[in-house]
Symmetry: C2
Subunit: 443 residues, 2 copies
């Protein structure tokens, strides 16, 4: 065995160059009125997504990259918590849903028939799978706490699918489940997950708009928590405590006892600020609701049997993608309202636009720049189309919303560099390639 | 905007350390007889997968990592072809399947009802989605050729789901679709995809067992091709041309004309070697079968309309995972038949087994080694369990089949290093940590 066939620990791979000349997707100036939500309109116009039917979308090349970057952020934060990644099936036998009593009560469950007329369901959530799974592996208190998550396509038979990626019938979901011996351990873990969620929304660029929102709990816990991102078109209403990132939802507002418990001294209901918001995540103490139904118990230190205590934590990457568009799009750079992607979730961190009119000019100019970026490990979207007018290229670039646009042209070269526009600003500036590299990769 | 919030082009991330003490999965000495296939047995025993029902599995932490590594290899080779990655929905409206006439004829199609009694299907393949999608974007011959692929969960209502990951009702699939102006262009691309497939199977460690196998084509093309990996338990039979990696399948064997065309001069049917095999991929020239049904045409250079010519190319990551187990497991290292993962698809490239009996010993020994590996960017699985006997640790290590096992113990330290076993060999050797690093990362 040689180092070669182990092929690990090698140098950082070079960056990807996506030439627009080979991208099949076209932007469009107008989109149909089938889904009037801002995120559906802007993502469709830019060619990031395509609607197959209500609540069901294809992620096109640029949109697929955004989604996978959001999922990458979520994955890294879940792994940092020490949770193991798994992938559970989307297709479930009826029996597991009967065991918890939800086959008959969960109206958004897609039901279907398999071979031999067998009743099946498509998973909108996975307590029914993970709890028996854990019961097969966990027998002693020494194996607790533990946690597992997946990032997966889920299905909900929504009565009204709407709002683009915000409420889909088929959507992406990260679901984390944690398992504990006692309440105190769950309580501590719950706070750690809340912190991880805050880091995720921060990295996705919506941290400053996202409120930790108390909601009603269940039989086991008084409260659960939603992460609500404020935006005028949100379908939820939350009540924010001034000068904090904390809020309560409608249920809590109507619960005098909870209000008294949650609001800090000196703050009354009248002080709360009512805001529209999108629920981008929720965390929930399940207690023994599912572990009892699925017989998940462990032997404890004194030799007795103890039912395992559970928590579940949802976060939808596709909904986060829609929320970023709803919240961060603006008309600052372009004359129209356009998407603005935070660097870490942008389909590419840099959009190189060549205005070369000959192949020679392009090869000695923009081609060199994208290759140099690739060598430094930076991916780029490269508008190398020779037959498209500069105006149309700029219009496409505005629609894509990539945070840094670099125009490579004879005019810019004569002024000593390339023309760099940081999206969100309304003014571009000429800088040398070295300054551009310093800006992008810090060296 | 600062370099910080662009956060790209930074140093290579450090390697992941998975401590077995925090892994919820347990290996098992025996498994149920529900699925007697070798891959189901070995993967279940090692805790890589868990069966939810026939043909439907959960990928547990180690299995999930193998699957995602296989998918990473496939993705990189598809991107090298210049194809764009997208993600199409699993859930389809009936209408798109009626347009191609397959709603009534495809018996493995899962059918279900959505809101308003709407007929829906779960996608076993995606010609019905991608062809109309392309028709919305592609209008001129200048946009051809182009290609898009996805790696996605697919569904087939198989009459008999069996053989572990080899024939599932829910499974992972990479499907690539290419679009061309004329037959010659499709033919050339088809060969390039075949080469990419050969590289994929090579990197997955089954290249030497995989035959490029002629199968019958369709209305448009005489032949399609399967990639068949030979193994005694394969459910297909192929007929191999001696001293080549080329074969024909049963259909072709029964077709005298095809035989004459395909077999090289001097080779007759009697010379062919009959072998059992698993189909790990197939490539197919669709011609205009779907582009006609879905009205995908372009204007050509002379201003006329021309129907687009298509190819489709399937490769199942989950089936490849099962095939690797079927083909590469052996009893060379361990007294029992165990999995042996090629380095590039192993859940972790290295398994560090600590035999320390005190925390101090572990901290000054194996902990240091895994940290040094992580700093070098190498992921490792780390058996840090203090309460487990050495024998049980070795048995687990055999079941996991990670290519390099490194035992850190006082005994090995006294002999001047660590004890390294390369799986597939039957003898371990003592080497210094520096030699181990040289072996693993070549420096």
């Amino acid at each position: 065995m040689t180092a070669n066939n182990l092929s690990i620990g090698g140098p950082r791979p070079s960056g990807l160059v996506q030439r627009q000349s080979t991208l099949f997707v076209q932007t469009s100036r107008e989109v149909s009125g089938e889904d009037p939500s801002l995120n559906a309109q802007l993502l469709t116009q830019a060619g990031f997504i395509n609607r197959l039917m209500a609540g069901v979308f294809t992620y096109l090349p640029l949109g697929n990259r955004v989604l996978s970057k959001i999922e990458g952020i979520i994955r890294s934060e879940m792994l940092s918590l020490g949770a193991s990644e798994i992938t559970m099936p989307a297709m479930h036998p009826k029996e597991i849903w009967e065991q918890t009593g939800r086959w008959d009560t969960l109206d958004i469950l897609f039901r279907l028939k398999g071979q031999g007329d067998r009743d099946l369901a498509l998973g909108p959530t996975h307590e029914e799978v993970i709890t028996p799974l854990m019961a097969g592996f966990i027998h002693s208190y020494k194996q607790l706490p533990t946690a597992a998550f997946q990032i997966q396509t889920k299905f909900r038979n929504e009565a009204r699918a709407k709002s683009g990626l915000l409420r889909g019938r088929e959507f992406r979901m990260k679901d984390l489940y944690s398992f504990h011996l006692d309440q105190a351990d769950l309580d501590g873990y719950y706070e750690k997950v809340a912190d991880a969620y805050r880091r995720i929304f921060e990295r996705c660029g919506i941290g400053h708009l996202t409120y930790y929102t108390a909601a009603s709990g269940g039989a086991f816990s008084k409260y659960s928590h939603e992460f609500q991102t404020i935006t005028p078109h949100g379908e939820d209403t939350i009540y924010c405590i001034p000068n904090t990132k904390i809020a309560i939802n409608k249920e809590i507002l109507d619960d005098a006892e909870a209000i008294k418990e949650i609001l800090p001294a000196g703050i009354s209901v009248q002080d709360l600020e009512e805001k529209k918001a999108i629920e981008v995540g929720n965390i929930f103490k399940l207690g023994t609701r599912f572990s009892e139904a699925c017989k998940l118990s462990v032997s404890n230190a004194t030799g007795g049997k103890q039912t395992v205590i559970m928590g579940c934590y949802g976060l939808g990457p596709s909904r986060v993608m829609g929320t970023i568009v709803e919240c961060l799009s603006d008309g600052k750079t372009a004359p129209i309202n356009t998407m603005v992607w935070p660097a870490e979730v942008a389909p590419y961190p840099v959009h190189i636009v060549s205005l070369a009119r000959t192949i020679d000019e392009q090869q000695s100019g923009a081609d060199q720049l994208v290759n140099r970026l690739a060598s430094a490990g930076v991916d780029s979207l490269y508008d190398d189309r020779m037959e498209v007018r500069a105006g149309a290229k700029f219009a496409d670039s505005d629609l894509f919303g990539i945070p840094v646009r670099v125009v490579v042209s004879q005019k810019a070269a004569e002024k000593g560099g390339v023309e760099v526009l940081i999206r969100g600003n309304n003014q571009s500036e000429i800088m040398s390639e070295d300054s551009l590299f310093k800006l992008i990769i810090g060296r």
